[in-house]
Amino acid sequence: MTRLQFIRYVESNQRAVRRFLIALCCGDSALADDLAQDTFVKAYLSCDTFRDDGKFSAWIYRIAYNTFISNRRSKRPSESISEAATIDSADSSDKAFEYQELYMALDRLSEKERSAILLYYMQGYAINEIAEITESSTDAVRQQLSRGRQHLKGLLKE
């Protein structure tokens, strides 16, 4: 893949990847953008060795997921997002708070549950595809989806 082809691919798909990462980072768009940049740079470095053209998109999400997990492991614990909900916004139409409830619900899920839910419901991947992206078994993905749904149902009803 040439650099031009890669940039063209990124231009048409970067919004979806960033959207996925924003949800994965529970609304932290600055972090999501940094992770997206890291993801695409890593993909560019390895794209010469990538052969299976049909699964390029899934491969990008795999890199994005691994980048997110690495970032979480190296990051120091920060304040929970539920504490941010107590902060009043001066701008009542601030779009950042539109999805506050969803972000808080996602934040309470484990990383694997969150990833499984987002890849299944947001990105529309099948269970076996999610298993490949997250390097888990299909049974594990089913379990994560089931648990994720249970938690989301409970949290969004509160």
Partner: protein
């Protein structure tokens, strides 16, 4: 909550993002930096390969010449034993060991020097500061 409700949760999910043009611009800068580092790495590998080849040839030639000189050196060492001192006798007894050690040291030093000089020469040749003289 049924499946459709979970799907619709994310169908309407459209968070605010920084402009696409800004994101692509940052990415292109990052990719440019990656290209520079890759180019530099390839250049360093090329220079190292050249230096290793020259060092290997130098080592081979020095080793070969030293090996040809071995009989002459051994003769010289043995002639020292004629003096009859304990030291001379010791040198004579272990003459071949000392000669081969000397040959190995000489070959190693000259090989490393050839490697170092080749690398330095390539760096100097590629450095504009030296080319402007």
């Amino acid at each position: 909550m049924n499946e459709d409700k979970y799907t619709s949760l994310f169908d309407n999910f459209n968070p605010d993002m920084s402009p696409d043009s800004l994101f692509i611009h940052c990415l292109e800068q990052n990719l440019q930096a990656v290209e520079i580092v890759k180019k530099h790495t390839v250049e360093m590998q090329r220079r190292n390969r050249k230096a290793i080849i020259i060092a290997a040839i130098t080592g081979f030639i020095v080793g070969l010449l030293s090996s040809f000189c071995y009989p002459f050196l051994l003769k010289t060492i043995n002639s020292i034993a004629i003096s009859g001192t304990a030291f001379a006798t010791h040198i004579s007894d272990y003459g071949s060991v000392y000669i081969w050690t000397l040959i190995c040291l000489l070959t190693g030093i000259l090989t490393y020097s050839a490697y170092d000089l080749t690398l330095s020469a390539q760096t100097t040749a590629n450095n504009p500061k030296y080319n402007d003289r």
